[in-house]
Amino acid sequence: MTTTIPVGFVPLIDAGPLIVAVEMGFDRAEGIALDLRRANSWSALRDMVTFGQVTAAQMLSPMPVATALGLGGAGAALAAVSVLSTNGEVVCVSEAMARKLRDAGHAFDFDDAHAAGSALIAAADGPLRIAVPFPFSMHAELLYHWLTALGLPAPSGIEIRTVPPPLMGAALAAGELDACCVGEPWGSMAVERGVGALLLPGSAIWPGVPEKVLGVRADLADSDPEPLSALIRALLHAGQWLNDPRSRVTACEILSGRDYLDVPTEVIDRALSGHMTISARGDVRVVPQFVDFGRFAPQQVHAAWIGGRLAARLGLDRGTSQAAAQATYRTDLHESAVQEIPGYVQEPVALARSFDGQNFTPAPQE
């Protein structure tokens, strides 16, 4: 008998593995049927998981960590059992900021985080006002890391605020924001509407950072591991399919559907192909590894790093926070699920360094 698993998602490129698992039948091949539920906010997804409306959901990679540290949510412990996507974020600046940067001679080469960040800091009058989709997000972590590494004092020099992606375009146009960091297709949609220009892909700040994870309630993961295990395998196959360049045309077609992202296929193709249109004038930049669906195994070193960063910013004890964070990335559940795939050999995930040469080694305790 087929087990139906309700799973929550937010309409973004990196919901791809979930959508593809259903549309290409990777779920049924594992004996399960995904029942996808679209949500408008990350907090709604988290609460739907907590209170059992869905069994699992796409989550921002720091969300299970934040919940473990008591930041937001109604308390139930969450676990990340797979990485759905790696990178795929863009930094998008307002038209006014883009003009300033161009006038100052910035070339918008779209791959040099040093040059782009320094130009942005130099162009700011007052604190830089940058929007992210959620307070606990890789977007926020990337921004803090990038701009403080270039000498911008935080929090005084940077004002990171939460703006729902559908409202970011309006906030950029109204002059309330200098920039935003957001997942595709929202950056490209801002370019399409003529309210922003893309400054940098997330991968230029730190390649290989986990962007979205599959989140579940920790107690459910332990008490009923079988359907979850099948779900993990289905999503692994879906991710591999998405990473194959031959799938691209079909993938764009599927994701653009009215029940999914509901945006033109051509806009989705930019992120999947890495051919990004960065300005309303039509300038194109090619990013070799814009988003990756194949780095599927959760890495505890990522969780510890996120926990350490949140702890440092919010004044929590770093050691206990890192330990609590690490426990949310359930490599054990992930591995036991993928081990059942005949002939599957999990390739070790290479941990890349940030643009300024940092690695994920948790900072020594102060």
């Binding site: 709604a44 209170f51 308390g75 959620f134 307070p135």
Partner: protein, 194 residues
Amino acid sequence: MQRLLKITIVESDPARAALIEESLLRVGQYELNIIDDMTRLNAAIKEINPDIVLIDLDNPSRDALEELTLATAPLERPVALFVDQGDANLTKLAIEAGVSAYVVDGLRADRLKPILDAAVARFNMFRQMRTELAATKRALEERKVIDRAKGILMKAKGIDEEAAYALLRRAAMDQGRKVGDVAEALVSTAGLLS
């Protein structure tokens, strides 16, 4: 006497906001505020400094409210989603109805319960209305498509309306599909041929 609880309703649709307001005032006396401008949501909430914030679970601006759960400045009051699981069942009902409540730390559960009960009842009604509206819209759209398909058949085969509908119905029965689906297929194919 206890100070009136301050409740802020985040809702951009004035008709809905008024209905929520009305059902809350039926169960008690509260100081109510409505925020309809999502762009300055957090600033408005800081100004009002409410005890409870009610917001639709489907509202994308909920994520901006999550910032409130970070009480970083010493003077800010910590805010939690619902009350610390004091009544898990009520919380679950609320999520199912599609209402979320942000509550300041230390608010007694018995003061919260009637408010949440009233909000849940109201949101359940909204949900039902929304479902009915969607069903009506779908039915209307389907009828339009069937009418167009009938028109195409009448013109192509020189038959009257009744015969055209019978033809559609027979095709649907033969293929084990709905009349609306067959009509839609016909309309989109005819669009290609014309």
